[in-house]
Symmetry: D2
Subunit: 255 residues, 4 copies
Amino acid sequence: MFLFFGIFAIPMRILIGSEGKRIYFNETTKNDLQTYAGVIKQKDIIKAKPGSKIKSHIGKEFIVLDADFVDKIKSIRRGPQIITLKDSGIISSYTGIGPGSKVLEAGSGSGMLTCYLANLVRPNGKVLSYEIREDFYKLTKENLEKLELDKFVELKNSDVSKSKEKNLDVAILDLPEPWNVLYSVMKTLKPGGRMVFYLPTTNQVIKLLESFGEEFTDIKIIEVIERRWQDKAGALRPGNDEMGHTGFIIFSRIV
Amino acid sequence: MFLFFGIFAIPMRILIGSEGKRIYFNETTKNDLQTYAGVIKQKDIIKAKPGSKIKSHIGKEFIVLDADFVDKIKSIRRGPQIITLKDSGIISSYTGIGPGSKVLEAGSGSGMLTCYLANLVRPNGKVLSYEIREDFYKLTKENLEKLELDKFVELKNSDVSKSKEKNLDVAILDLPEPWNVLYSVMKTLKPGGRMVFYLPTTNQVIKLLESFGEEFTDIKIIEVIERRWQDKAGALRPGNDEMGHTGFIIFSRIV
Amino acid sequence: MFLFFGIFAIPMRILIGSEGKRIYFNETTKNDLQTYAGVIKQKDIIKAKPGSKIKSHIGKEFIVLDADFVDKIKSIRRGPQIITLKDSGIISSYTGIGPGSKVLEAGSGSGMLTCYLANLVRPNGKVLSYEIREDFYKLTKENLEKLELDKFVELKNSDVSKSKEKNLDVAILDLPEPWNVLYSVMKTLKPGGRMVFYLPTTNQVIKLLESFGEEFTDIKIIEVIERRWQDKAGALRPGNDEMGHTGFIIFSRIV
Amino acid sequence: MFLFFGIFAIPMRILIGSEGKRIYFNETTKNDLQTYAGVIKQKDIIKAKPGSKIKSHIGKEFIVLDADFVDKIKSIRRGPQIITLKDSGIISSYTGIGPGSKVLEAGSGSGMLTCYLANLVRPNGKVLSYEIREDFYKLTKENLEKLELDKFVELKNSDVSKSKEKNLDVAILDLPEPWNVLYSVMKTLKPGGRMVFYLPTTNQVIKLLESFGEEFTDIKIIEVIERRWQDKAGALRPGNDEMGHTGFIIFSRIV
């Protein structure tokens, strides 16, 4: 449901019509905007202020807004399966990630979680992100730069088992076979540091549990199911098109 | 499952045994620690370093850790029903709350969400928190001070409809009848700002939806269900004692 | 995923290929069968025995089976929203419907639940089914006849509030406004008889609960959520395309 | 929440107060009834008619009812973990079990599912039930006799792999290691017959899927989650004490 117009620089802006669909643009655009409901002239775009209304050539009204962080992170280019904001929110709240946190992540994939974490640890924290595939590494890099979050991330195109950091707060592994790097990642954490795993299948969860030594305590395995409801006051009911499974999240604490 | 020993000052520390239960203490304690598995001598406590091991008089081994943010927030004193970390995580990730955000909250209740938000908006953001009941106001104040987060919060013992702030990013209403304050709170938000509601019953959700004017767009009603699994590699299965319902979360955006 | 070939008489047969898709036919067909994977000759169809294999002209293999009750009920023609086998199974097991039961139902809709109940109460029980809309009444009649279950059902094209039966075991109301007929239906039940309601929205559930007098006891409100898993031994995980909400089922007992 | 008074013969009766709790008794009782709310005199019990009211010595009012099938099956004595009415209802509706069906079951456990199936296949169907443990075999036998359903069941204290039946409609395996008997049970089914498995853990589901040969088609793995709601018209919301996991149900069809 996102419509894009070229590569854009900051400040990122959006138009929203009554349907809630976002149309991204920025002040420096050289072209008219082709929306799903008519054309908006370039000269109208560049002088629009946040909160003001603007009309397409067929009279459809849009509101102009400065993109907030949610708008921005939803604008990133996606490659592999991402960790959604639903799962990202739970991962950060259950591990206490916030300003100043030092967090390791592997692999970065499209960089959705990387961007999410980078925004949270600002200004004095750090995200150390590992991605072994070059194409994903480049995609994450592009997305971090677009959101101006690259300075909070040390992004490496290498295997996480080569990490030499120490005293980190949290490590998050979104890897198909995390059991291969358990002990090298463990060494990067402070005492009591938290290691989190994101795994789609029960076979992987079983293998991970079998790999845990006694250093892994406070183990908690969850699925987070978002149940969406239809927003009709006169017919309030759960929706028909629930999102199914995303992944199992496994929390542990190293002692 | 938390055992406390008196009012404590920072640095907060914890002991964890193999069962994962936290025992809170601090270095300045004057007394021996009575744990669920024997006594630990005061002289041992005060010289223990994070990551070191310490034994009770019956030989039970504990690990000493610096309390992290999750340990700290779980130590707060609770009065009324709280918004859990599960729901807090989704609220913050779906609204983009992070360092620098300006967030209004009402009512504060026990202050669990207040503490959670205050930690996230540091160092240059702000939480504006309203609580009409004096006992809850005092409880929130006490908890914020204990977690050293009070300087990021403007806490008021008054009705949220009296708020005069402008240009806030997000407002979160955990009130039984939020429809009474919809328009006074709406005025505190920037264009495109987000208003979030936490409501336990469908009757409340219905009444809220009926109260929305056309300024309320991008409406999303969800329940977040955490399904916990048993952590046995040889018998991986969902647990028996799932937590039921907490509340409906309603997201909206003001245009 | 069902392919039909004309109106068919009993015995109903099916072909199943390795994909599990059903192709319905019967021995008296006069035509070749056009399947999703080639043509099967009429002369092959009429001599096929249950359990035997049969090939299409492009060599695709199918198994010939006698249709069982599940095949048959899935072959009915559908008009309005049906009560699924998931919800039908719970309704019958929670009310003890079985051979000999006397059950009232309104409205019949497509007749899916009518067929399901008629099959269960055989040979000496009875389903009394009311449907006010003539088109649905005719559809239910057609479906009952096709499944040869019409002799176990007294189907009426009238309002359920006109029912004069006495001493029934269970009444099931799949009506948008069941509160209008509560007391007329109540009189048809034996002491301790069970009244069941199927309602899609919470607004309806609220109105129903408000309408209950003290004769309505043992009230139980449930949703039945079927969570489907993917059948891959090497990657066992919940599916992505979960069915969302069907309806709330409200059980009560009249004393 | 069930209170029992001695071994009882048919006709089984119940008393229900406003709380919905059942108190079982029968007309031939020789003693006064000690309820949770006072004593009811034997002379009052024996002359009470279904639907009549009766008072305890402290004035608490109860309604007298003939036990229906649900009351009866909830009165059985329980040993091992049972298959609940929730899962029993789905198993029967998804396999089309009804009057006349021929069903194999192993192991019988407490006999809850055995009783449920026996009631459904009456009067001309049959349940063939295998239970290897003698104590469970005896418990199932006792429960079937109490519910007068024993004549519809062939109950054997032996291993299901010894079954020699042919042409059955459905086989239901509630065994910890069903893969050991897959092919001996398969031979008892008619072409297109349905085999159902009830398994608590994902490890078992994985092993079962690995054991399936190509005769097993139309495989469907589900969990059935009953979500119970609180029955307050003014505060309609999901309950707090949801039942967690019962078991995975795996359906297949033999071709």
